[in-house]
Amino acid sequence: MSTLHDIVSEEIINEFNASSISIKSKFSSICIYCRGGRKLCGKAVCPITLKAISMVKVSKPISSNYVSGSSPPSVFVGRYGYPKVAVGPMVPPILGDTVIMDLPEKWIGTPLEQIIDYRYSLLRGKVDIKVTEVRTVNRFLDTLHELAMSSRPADSEVEFTKRPIGTIYLDDHSQPFGPSAPIKSFRLQSTHSDRSIEKLYYDTDLLAQEAVLELYRSGVEVSRIQRAFSVGMFGLKKNRRLVPTRWSITAVDSIISSEIIKRIKDYDTIDKFLLYRHTYMNNIFVALLLPEKWSYEWMEAWFPGTFWNQNLSEVDVGGDYESYGGRKTYPSIGGCYFSARLATAEALNKIRRQATALVLREIHPEFPLPLGVWFVRENIRRLFQQRPSTFEDLEQAFRGLSEALTVPLRKWIQKSEILKNHVFQRRLSNYFGSGD
């Protein structure tokens, strides 16, 4: 384990009480020699420095056990120790309009440093609670529900049992957010409840799935639905439970996209091959829609030197696929599969057509750190807002696809079910004779 002195500039350290932060590096051999200066890991900005800088910004106002600020609103449910998990509000040491800090739908176009600052500025209070506790009377959870329902930032006061301490992991599994500490007390000033969420909160006879879909249909942002879902605000009373934030994001993306997919299966297929391309923050997003019945594949290619591909000398390609009938198992690539599926299904539903959708993402080494699955969802939404190139046949479409990507098409074909299906799989319809 190295200390903050090893990786951030002297100027920053002078403003900061370094003893409150420790940094654990999975790749210590590189980081020790680099210390954020030589960029040995290949990133334009050292991820640890970025995290450390944000820590410094919030660390000054929280030198005590107490924080007062406007929660965007934001809540977090941990997953470690399930079914007893750490749950609590996230509060920045800032009063005012903080809504942007937990509204990823609005983050595209925001500089990376700013997004990271949003994430790290949110101080996380924790109380260990059994997930089923939500079915009983619990004042802390009731206050948390009130916060999660709020349509505007809610002024909050949190007293911690000890001074919040941030630990920075270079291991990418940890999503970036600020220092955390157990809560001693949590007070919430007046909130403005979102009526549509409130109505479903008090409806204890409606399935959680139906509640999610109703909110989505009424235009509530996916991130707001996920927040309320995670603190167990929907569903039959006897089934309500806290859902770790990470799982709730995937659950909501999955529920909504499954419903849209049911609908788009009733539409006609598109009549041409459509190719979309969008680049953002050293990521290339490409979608090829084929004029066939619904099926979907999400694939990512991580360049050497990116978070998930630190040690390989080759681009690492992985992904998951579902046929018309859908998936029965959880995709190995993780929650981004469902986030991209939601954005893809939304795009097809908008044009009232179905298609086979191959959605690809290249992550180039300059992209310093993954920011969560919202990044995929919002970028795929942007991707489908682009004007597509159209192709009449598969061969032309493949040529267009190859030009849109930097990773050679043969590498994608090796791993992609949809591409393999079209390159190697013959169709029975090719053998239908006339008049049969």
Partner: protein, 218 residues
Amino acid sequence: MFIARSETPEEWKAIAVAISTIVEEATFEVTPQGLNFRGMDPSHIALIDLNWPNTAFEKFECTQPVKIGAKMDDFVRLIKRASPSDKVEFETKDGSLLIKFFDSYKKEYLLHLIEPYTTSTPLPKLALNSKVMIKTKSLEKLLDDIQVVAETVTVSAKKDQLILEGQGDTGNAKITLDKTNEDLISIDVKEECVATYSLSHLLDIISSLTSVSENRSY
């Protein structure tokens, strides 16, 4: 008017599950001669062509040809409620399908039907050079063995051998069955041939049929 009764629900279960692996909605064509289904998966990779003659039923009545459209998930869910010892009877009734199970007591389900497809799936014109008959359970096991390392199986039919091969990231698999193998019922090769199939499609269909089928032909 259509009524079909079977001694056991097992064939119905197997057929319904097999069809549900390739289509979500199925149209069955019932004629006085029997019950037929032909359908392809949406990718046009797998096709099931079912001809179930009236002689296979304990009771079969059909006064005029009728098409029955059903959501396969719903159909499978209901037919799976039958116990192995149940007799099962199907009857069309006012746009629905009445499903009766008889054993020590009578159980009835009414399944709402959907609009049947008006067009029928044609049969592909294939020139097949080899015909191999193999026990269904053996074939399922062989394919399972290949699936450990591969997503596709390459089947080579030779004069006196059947070879199944697969390769994947972890390694390769090769299974050779000689003509004398007791699982191999017959092998008739006009011309040696090789073909590669998706294991997921093959296994989905074959696994659902192992409980009721003894043989499988290529």
